[in-house]
Symmetry: none
Subunit: 197 residues, 4 copies
DNA sequence: GATGAATGAGTGTTCATTCAT
DNA sequence: CATGAATGAACACTCATTCAT
């Protein structure tokens, strides 16, 4: 028997994260298209009605899940971020952090991929998301100013630094490649050569 | 000119392509998730039942659409393919062809993106698709042998040569960037620097 | 290669009986409920449209099939009908003829069973059917008059003489029983004991 | 009296029986073939979706209905079952009980008839059904052992004792006969003469 | 006569969401 | 807060039938 005290919030938070976990797992297993609210509820061991206590509707749940993932990603990326280090070292750290994330959270990655390609993504406050990644933008700016990397639009830089990482770790896109230490190192090499001056 | 055989009303090739067109358009407008058979039928100006004359089921329709797009892409890519030219020139031609395609067929691109991230993609005969792109694999092989590009797995090369292109042209992923001549040129530069030895 | 001469009717009749055969076979295999026109057409190797040349609609096809079966049954029953013989011998012949029919045409029997329990059966001209069985009615009348069998309504007599036969040969109702010579003989014995005075 | 548990809205047993009632009524009126889920739902005054709360699918609904009917039948049959009485009296009681049931539940009877001839019947656990009728089997065994009735397979006995009853009370098969007291008595007479030694 | 294409109306089933408890 | 029941609308798909050829 579990006793809950008044004002205790643990239960709620646990349920909320349980729902998110279920959402990501299901999207990963059966795809975005056939992922229904009742299936998520069943996977999270709650009633479909309960889901609507924590989220306004399905849309809200999916968007929240996406934002959660993006926050997790940004937090992981920023690990050991030390602006005192040389530019390339910081980028490398960022990059390896990113690879860590996508490899250890393939399901998160796949969810994000499907989400960003769906019309739901239009509902996300892009500004809000970008805020989490602003240190990276600043870093790239510094790299450009210090003439270490090419002076091209940010989107171009990220398309060559970070998106190949997503692609390589997505089993739907690259099923054959084995992402061992050597490949990851090579991969950073290519990314670096792409952007460096 | 349509030839009718005795006692037969032929399948209308135009209708088939009209259904594909509708599928791509709708996926582009409302997303893969909410793209239903009846909506596609309405957009194609046919009855939902008619759709099942041309395609075994929804799955078959989506897979066929994907394959059609991939074929179109491969055909566009190979335009002016001249193996006599220097490696970098061929790659550049390929690359510009690719950019032409994704820019002029943003809807195709978006469909393909959503499709590859859905469980439907598991139904595609990957071998069949790869066949269309084998000249590119051969070319990359040659580049490696001639020590022009880095000796890394093919998936890595394509992840840096072709996927950034997809990303940049996908309005869901890169909404802000303006893909003018200069940016495209810069973009090829990054791709080339990434892979070249 | 089959050559058909002008005015030859064989082809038509063959097709007609082929459709009936297909109908009975399919009803037997997948049941009355899921037996669709297009499935019948496929089984009969004709176009669904062709079916409508021979029969006004599905209803007409089913009713015609039923009547055909009933005619076959009555013809089989009347085999070696010799009113000069003693009453019991005639009945026994009838009865064994009947068992022959239901055992050798289990599919016909099953179709008839499903048909008679469906609303389609209301469309059959019962009078027309009864006409084929009038010799049996006359025979029973004679049996009553000659005080050989009980003086009860005809329906009661047939319910005890002929319906048990249908039941026993219907695998859906009696799956376990083995209808060998001995059982059939016993079965006639029971039928006879039921009706005899 | 309905008891509601905390945080729960209980399944409505009345609704379940209402759906069964609607199913039987509709099958009776429009036949097994055209009896669709939506029509049943409308007749039962519930949404088609509600039906799927109480039954897994259409198949489950039909099978459940059939089992319910068979249970009702067996309960009715066993009324006043007194193994102390003489064999013929017990059988007569059984038999009249049976006639009571089929006459007062013509719709049930017709449903069962259509069901047993459909492929759905294959889904029924025959063993489970037979269990309800085991007292009858025991009784017949006793009758054989005491040399009161003929020593023939059980299926044969039931085919002559009980199936004629079904036939006679089925308006689709016997429309003309009037089942008054006299006819029913005659009918039992025939059944008894059929099986008695 | 015979065909395959074409379809509106229907099938069984699941959906996202609300409601009474 | 949390629930399972309840639902209208939608889903993918099949139906019996007609039509131009």
């Amino acid at each position: 028997m579990i006793i809950y005290f008044r004002g205790m919030r643990n239960k709620d938070e646990h349920k909320k994260s349980e729902i998110i976990r279920a959402t990501v797992k299901l999207v990963n297993e059966i795809g975005f298209v056939s992922c229904s609210v009742s299936k998520i509820a069943k996977e999270a061991n709650v009633s479909p009605a309960t889901l609507y206590i924590y989220y306004k509707n399905k849309e809200d749940l999916l968007v929240s899940t996406y934002i959660e993932i993006k926050q997790n990603l940004s937090e992981t990326l920023m690990k050991n971020f030390d602006s005192a280090k040389p530019f390339r070292d910081i980028l490398k750290t960022l990059w390896y952090n990113g690879f860590d994330f996508v490899l250890n959270n393939k399901d998160y990655n796949q969810f994000a991929e499907q989400f960003s390609n769906s019309p739901y993504s239009d509902l996300v406050d892009k500004k809000e998301i970008e805020k989490h990644f602003s240190p990276i933008i600043s870093l790239l700016k510094r790299g450009i100013d210090q003439k270490i990397i090419k002076d091209v639009p940010f989107d171009l830089l990220t398309a060559f630094i970070f998106y190949p990482m997503m692609t390589l770790s997505n089993p739907k896109l690259c099923s054959s490649i084995k992402l061992d230490k050597k490949t990851i190192a090579q991969s950073f090499n290519l990314a670096w050569d792409a952007v460096k001056l």
